[in-house]
Symmetry: C2
Subunit: 160 residues, 2 copies
Amino acid sequence: MLKVLLSIFLVLVVVISIMGRTQKATVKKEKRVPQTLSKGWGDQLIWAQTYEEALFWARSKNKPLMVIFHLDDCPHSQALKKAFAEDEKIQKIADENFILLNLVHETTDKHLSPDGIYVPRILFVDPSMTVRADITGRYSNRKYAYEPSDIKICKFKLLA
Amino acid sequence: MLKVLLSIFLVLVVVISIMGRTQKATVKKEKRVPQTLSKGWGDQLIWAQTYEEALFWARSKNKPLMVIFHLDDCPHSQALKKAFAEDEKIQKIADENFILLNLVHETTDKHLSPDGIYVPRILFVDPSMTVRADITGRYSNRKYAYEPSDIKICKFKLLA
């Protein structure tokens, strides 16, 4: 009995070690998916890379800038991203009327965090370079936070 | 004769107008290719999006940062990009040893333009956040410019 158990154990060890090796080889060979600037917020939209670039485009195209702060591993960011990316109307409005920037890191400009640093948070900047701290969502404690159900408010704001 | 010419002209007008319409429809339907963070400098590499993000990664991973300033419509940038992206060894060295950032817009940090603003230009930053103005290419007038043939110098610098 002990002999049988021992051989089963040995076979298991060999199988697991082979599986481990195969997996390692696969991981090493696996090609990385190129990172996109949209990060899932709309592949068909044109995104600025940095705040400086976004300000340049806002000024030169005379369009307001929309800055979305988010994090990959934040469920609230993910939910808002899904709603934003899947809403065709909001994608169209964003594409036609705004310079767009999404960031997973804060900038050095304190004007972009009027009531602190949190995600998701959306700030608008005028083509004249003024951060529009007066454009807020519907939460008094985190003024620039939006939820998926706020997309309609957002649409209204975008068109205002 | 005039009648024949007139009908040929009319047919031509109709054909051109139909072709025009088809072309317009195609342009409108055409999907945009999602912008990548690599912008052609190596899709398999991991790129930081902004200087702030790159500095954060350099500090937390204790790796030096390589900042490439370039422009899409600059032939010198294009040539350097091609050499950089196609050189497997340099891609491997860059991937394993550096935090990487490529920018088509200047940052607000003057330390990144020690001898002025031009492209292509490569600057290195220590994990301690010091811009290494001492790491230069082989041109005395534009110290941080590199040409495709300098890739070997670059390799040496990357390994130093």
